[in-house]
């Protein structure tokens, strides 16, 4: 050992470098810890405040009643309203989004128009969600399109606009992962392009497309601003997407400023419910992506 330690062939790591390494590692650990603090606090606070509401009888089975005294009611209409609005938004955004992504990867490729589309999709990703709400408000709500001013389906449209760029971008990434050799193999067999898309490209990318779509749904589900100007708030349960509806984000928005403790508690319960719904979607998305055949 002592014979080699003085060798200049393989000098020892200098003390300065070791120290620098330790300091930098420590800083990065500290940053990670700092980032985790609010996250853990949010989850802790949500559980702490929300779980007691969850335990209240009728929390999931009654609608808010607007009474000034006594039991303020549960959040059934908010949960179902959110599910209805988001379901319609999904039906609009996902097929359109995947179609645009398919066009970009299979046909547009590097054409200038495809790049223009990509650019606008990127811009749309960065548009604040309230702008989508305002857009729908100006174009559909004020003019009472469909007979009523505020309506669930208008909220769905605003959410769909918000989800669209997310679906397009995530789908494009996944579709680009489908090996070109598979398209080539199918082309060389004499297959028309639409059949290649339908039978080779989409099935190969399926789990990735599902994952991206679920994440966009989870994103849309938690948005408040697009609903603010489009759906408004209601207490009652309704299946009519052409009327004002209740939804979880709006319920939270309305409840949290209430002077009544019971109503504020309901807001926390609703918030926990919303986080739970989003978490479930994320877990499903992860499970699906794990089964992916693409890496």
């Amino acid at each position: 050992m002592s014979a080699t330690s003085g060798s200049t062939l393989l000098p020892r790591t200098s003390g300065g470098r070791k120290r620098k390494d330790r300091i930098m590692r420590g800083l990065m650990m500290a940053a990670t810890g700092l980032a985790l603090v609010p996250l853990i606090l949010i989850i802790y606070y949500l559980l702490y405040k929300g779980l007691s509401s969850w335990g209240r009888s009728g929390f999931f089975t009654t609608d808010p009643n607007g009474n000034f005294f006594g039991n303020p009611g549960g959040i059934r209409s908010a949960i179902l309203g959110t599910l209805e609005i988001v379901a319609l938004a999904t039906i609009i955004a996902i097929p359109v989004g995947i179609a645009v992504a398919l066009w970009l990867t299979e046909y547009g490729k590097d054409a200038w128009f495809a790049n223009v589309v990509r650019y606008f999709v990127d811009v749309m990703t960065g548009v604040p969600s309230i702008v989508f709400g305002l857009f729908i408000y100006i174009s559909l709500v004020i003019s009472h399109v469909g007979g009523s001013g505020f309506a669930g389906w208008k909220g769905s449209l605003a959410l769909a606009l918000l989800m669209l760029p997310i679906v397009i971008r995530s789908s494009e990434v996944v579709l680009l992962l489908v090996p070109a050799t598979l398209r080539e193999a199918a082309l060389a067999l004499g297959a028309p392009r639409w059949r290649i898309i339908w039978k080779v490209v989409l099935p190969t990318a399926r789990s990735g497309l599902v994952t991206g779509s679920l994440l966009s749904i989870a994103r849309g589900m938690g948005e408040t601003a697009p609903l603010l100007f489009t759906v408004s708030v209601a207490f009652g349960l309704t299946g009519n997407l052409n009327s004002i509806m209740n939804s979880l984000p709006m319920q939270i928005f309305g409840d949290i400023t209430s002077p009544r403790d019971a109503v504020v508690a309901r807001a926390w319960g609703a918030a926990l419910t919303l986080v739970a719904l989003v978490l479930i979607l994320n877990l499903i998305a992860r499970a699906v992506s794990r089964r992916s055949r693409l890496t």
Partner: protein, 287 residues
Amino acid sequence: MTGPETTSKEPEKMSSAPEQSEQEAAPDLSAMGERRQGHGIKVKDLHAYYGSVHAVKGVSIDFPANEVTALIGPSGSGKSTVVRCINRMHEEIPGGRSEGSVTLDEIDVYSPDVDITAVRRMIGMVFQKPNPFPTMSIFDNVAAGLRLTGTKTDNLRERVHRALRAVGLWGEVKNRLNSPGIGLSGGQQQRLCIARAVAVEPEVILMDEPASALDPISTLKVEELIDELKNRYTIAIVTHNMQQAARVAKSTVFMLDGEVVEHAETTKLFTNPSDERTERYVTGKFG
């Protein structure tokens, strides 16, 4: 592989039981019907470009029916491009275009009133890397050619089984036709891809270095298969492996820098080439 009780499920298998397994292991082209006269390909004055790169410069090659023609030459000599111009796959590459004529018998493959998908159905292709469809089972992979081209057939099952027998894969996969095609070994995958090409019943099969990603034993199997396939198909094979060309091809084309240097009977090209550059290449002095 395992005995007659599994084969009894297959009514279209007719040959007598004892030789069964041996017969299943070897390529059995009789499964595809009688030996038949194939159709030749003539390439004339072919120029091909990648954007501004002139990759193939006035190539003329005859690929006679029912023969194996090998294309050899160093990387970048344009062998693959020539082959990809025959089934019009070259134009799928961004910036790819070509001039000149390619005829299947007397039909111009590039004629404006010829359907490009019909060209590719008639002229099948096998690629360097095995590329079975990852979402499909072994059966579906072979059926893919028929399904993707919208070919209506009442005997899909039978055609798939025939194609698998033709490439000598039947014995290895008959008990797991529904398992994924990518679960097979590399050599098996490549034969699966050949089965997929054969199932469409093309006239010509183009092979772009079909064995270069395979181990020696799989390579041997593919070469044996090529030897069988020529009884029914016209075959053009691009290869980097000169021994392979010597083993499978009746005639061989030596290409260099996008031009044909020499096209001759394989034995002559390797033993007594008329061009000095060919001699230097086949003896390993350059390239």
